[in-house]
Assembly symmetry: C2
Homo-oligomer: 446 residues x 2
Amino acid sequence: MVTANPLLIPELRLMLAEGDATGLREVASELHPASVAEFSEGLDDREIWQLLGSVPVERQAEIFPYYPLARQVRLIESADRDRLGPLIEAMAADNRADLLREFDSDKVEEILPLVAKAERHDIRMLLSCPEDSAGALMTTEYASLPAHVTAGEAVARLRTQAPATESIYYIYVLDGDRRLVGIVSLRALILARPTALVSDLMQRDPIRVRVEEPRDEVVRTLARFDFLAIPVVDDQDCLVGIVTHDDVLDAVRQGATDDAQRIAAVSPLGESYLEAAVGTMTWKRGVWLTVLFATAAVTAMVLANSPITHAWLIPFIPLVIASGGNSGNQSATLVITALSTGDCHLEDWPRILRREVVLGFLLGGLLAVPGYLLALVYAPTPYAALVIPLTILAVVMLGTLIGSVLPLAFRSAGLDPALMSNPFVSAIVDFLGIVIYTLVAMVVLG
Amino acid sequence: MVTANPLLIPELRLMLAEGDATGLREVASELHPASVAEFSEGLDDREIWQLLGSVPVERQAEIFPYYPLARQVRLIESADRDRLGPLIEAMAADNRADLLREFDSDKVEEILPLVAKAERHDIRMLLSCPEDSAGALMTTEYASLPAHVTAGEAVARLRTQAPATESIYYIYVLDGDRRLVGIVSLRALILARPTALVSDLMQRDPIRVRVEEPRDEVVRTLARFDFLAIPVVDDQDCLVGIVTHDDVLDAVRQGATDDAQRIAAVSPLGESYLEAAVGTMTWKRGVWLTVLFATAAVTAMVLANSPITHAWLIPFIPLVIASGGNSGNQSATLVITALSTGDCHLEDWPRILRREVVLGFLLGGLLAVPGYLLALVYAPTPYAALVIPLTILAVVMLGTLIGSVLPLAFRSAGLDPALMSNPFVSAIVDFLGIVIYTLVAMVVLG
């Protein structure tokens, strides 16, 4: 990226110390709000409030949401009550709901009386939407029109609506009951004759999502149709908000990080890696490591009672269980990502399982060959060495099967498939791998 | 999602069989292009060409890019030469470059003479951009203006430019040498007095990316500033294209899937899980399983020569190596995701390593406690049982260290950190875990 006007914290501190209001105002009003937030993040809370205080509240409300959410919370907690109300009122509806969602209900009830009644109603409505739903992603600020106006009138009306709406490039056409009947782009309005009717220019019956629709479905829909924003309706098909492209992009990026962390058995941090406290990290990692430890302990107990008495079989233990764990991890990750991108659905389970059984057989066969060659070195006879390739084949097939079944089972139980993380698949395959190894050894060696 | 007009393949097949041109035209022209592509995907190539043939080439070019890329390639290969040229000419510049990038250069040279000279030049320029760069994501269709025109004139000019440009909501202001001097939104033009000059309305010195900038950096910049599109400039600061929000969203979604697959040691499929051929899947998974098998074989050979002669130590082998592998996986995933989202950078390595050493000590200590309790059951004396907690502590610390060092080392070597996937971390930690276990047992038990 090529940024304009790189500004350093020391210069900013100097302006703050000298009370250089003109300098501060220039910095806070001329750069992109995201840039202002980014380079002032290193200041302390009091200094940030001093910087924000140099510009009107509308500008403050543009800059504020670009601080990381955890920082916004700290700033709100350190703010004077008399500047809190105007700032929250001026913030975009979705940004302010995201912020207030971070507080417990007592704190929210303390803040709400500071803002105007219409805003209060709006905030309560957005806060009541379940997490990870379309409602939690949407903003209530959008441009709307009735169908009977002309393109010329429409543009004139937008001039008055525009300052209050986040996005004016799609205009939603509503009937008298605020039901969504069409959508018209600003592009179409500009290109049309000024006398053309919106009802003739609009696209009827536009694609929409319901307010309770899950986040992933909203993302898939917007991505599939390349929309700038997608309308959100309630049970009566009335427009209640829109989800914009930038919020979807943020949701996808956050979701990808959360999923990757879940797959590696870390509870999603929800904050930047370097910012998370060591205590938080220890907890979010330790709790899963302990659970995994417990399953590994069961494996150890099985092994302690296993009659794998031939000494030459022991060095192959890690090899056998790693083969199952690795192939199981591959299957689990492929199924988890395919479910989350919408490449496959729960209903495809027979196809998925068929694929994984075939792949398990092929991959197990592939690894069985070097396994047999290695076993020939240590086994007393070529016949005895067969224990290793047979076990590898069985364990890999089991790994792919378990790796694909578990995420599907989680999805069908309404849970996040990413919770059925790779270390869990490994832990289960480790345990069953030892059981299979023991059984195969008993059958082959007698 | 609530879709309008669900249409079924059998109905469509009937229209095709009956040669119902009116019905086909209605289907292909009234729905969103993405919907047309989606529900016609189940048809064979000849049927799709018949459906597309019912509408003008401009509409065909809107629908075509919504088929999966692999399908687009098959369709192009099965197409009549005389319809290929007009279709490729009519497609958006970025979509057609994405498609042609899938063919080898011989096939591209065969197709290029079919399109007009200006288009040919544009295609060659886009195809010359390195993969995963801003240039490979951008389109060359954008709206531009000189600075000296008025808002009223600007809107009039947009009316003539609009049909050819993908995005008219940001207009790029260029000087006589096509250098980027500013950016003005359609919103600002609409809200301004018609006599206001663009040079007074535009934001000067806008944020931009260079054509060779890596994809991740483009994503981060667009996401940070919530832009609809970001301008791409060459070395002389001349505007060469724009990257739009929808292409960034697609890139992020594809990138997240690729990363997850790499982390699980699968070469990115690059196509839908259910569509990938079994042979392709076997190769993309088998190659890494074989590499991992080789490292596990080394572990087995070390174990075969290890003097862990006390029988009670053997059942703890999987437990010890799983503890190291799991904590190593957590560290690797956290560092990989933090690097890819831009939450941390290569220069932060001393902080990252310090964190991971501290966490390794805490997490290792946490697991050492139940490890000691379990060891007491099997060990001959409480002193001998100390082998297990000491090994766990050392292995977990090693796991977190290796899990964090390897992605950093890969990034500093200019490689994708996700390549240093979890199974590799496990494989290395498995091997070192056995070595540590042997050493600790020798020291404690003599």
